[in-house]
Symmetry: C2
Subunit: 150 residues, 2 copies
DNA sequence: TTGTAACTGAGAATCAATTGCAAATAGTCA
DNA sequence: TGACTATTTGCAATTGATTCTCAGTTACAA
């Protein structure tokens, strides 16, 4: 069995919950690609499948996947939370282009390390963190520069 | 005149907008204390004043204050955006306790510097960033430890 | 002072997200 | 295998935050 499915089943069993076809569909869809997504996008992809499922079910499945450690909320665009799978993909942070919406991922060891140092200073036990840098991507800067020259 | 008021007036004038008593009340309230706040809290404080003002007006004023560079959204708690003034207070990031909700502010120069380095690597022009670390504060860790011993 | 575009409060509308309910069903235990 | 039951589902109604509409008010430039 696929590993994420095993994890999900184990999580559900441990909580006395059921592994339903609907929950499997959501899980499969999420792990069929890598990248960011939101509830709306998930619904669009799943509603038209044979025996498509309801929006409410997706909303009810998200927290389960999060608690199972399979996905996490990583940012918020247009006032909607964006998720990504975290099982099998290493932690990273994000650059978000204000103009075109593109998202770039990075991981800077030193930043990670320094955060721990800060936490120690406060006696704070960190569970998770989120670093998002908003600005203009390379492309959008070039476009802007060109349009100025016109 | 108080400096933030001057800035706000200048911003409004430049955009052909008006400096009204309502907008002044919101501005005054925000600058009467330092710390984080949300729309709800602001409304609670302002509604009962003589000539209290409406929630809609507060909602309409927030983006103006943001664009004027006087406040900014810093995080989101219970699905509500939290703001803080940014005029006259230096940039910082946040530690947020998952249990008691307390928020601690820190500034780590080296993290700031490294972010610029990352941006350079991507040819990305940063405008703003947000770093939030969630976990358990010193107090809540102690409480938990004690309750375990019972 | 006057004219007018911007502003206000109140309530309606919107949007994402949650919830109540009755019918369906996964998973357990004979 | 078959019955049992707590969980889940879809649907529609609801919530809660935010935005919009509109008619009356007002700041402020000329
Ligand atoms: Zn871009
Ligand atoms: Zn990512
Ligand atoms: Zn705490
Ligand atoms: Zn702060």
């Amino acid at each position: 069995m696929i590993k994420q499915e095993l994890i999900f089943r184990d999580y559900l069993r441990a909580k006395g919950l059921k592994f339903t076809p609907e929950r499997r569909m959501v899980l499969e869809e999420i792990f069929s690609f890598s990248g960011h997504f939101d509830v709306e996008a998930l619904y669009d992809k799943l509603r038209h499948r044979v025996g498509g499922l309801s929006l409410a079910t997706i909303y009810r499945t998200m927290p389960l996947l999060i608690k199972a450690g399979l996905i996490k909320e990583v940012m918020r665009c247009q006032n909607r939370p964006q998720y990504e799978r975290c099982f099998g993909s290493p932690h990273h942070d994000h650059l978000i282009c204000i103009k075109c919406g593109r998202v770039f991922e990075f991981r800077e060891e030193e930043i990670e390390r320094l955060q721990d140092k800060v936490c120690q200073r406060f006696g704070f036990r960190p569970i998770e963190h989120r670093l998002g840098i908003k600005g203009y991507c390379k492309n959008c800067q070039i476009k802007e520069r060109n349009s100025r020259n016109v």
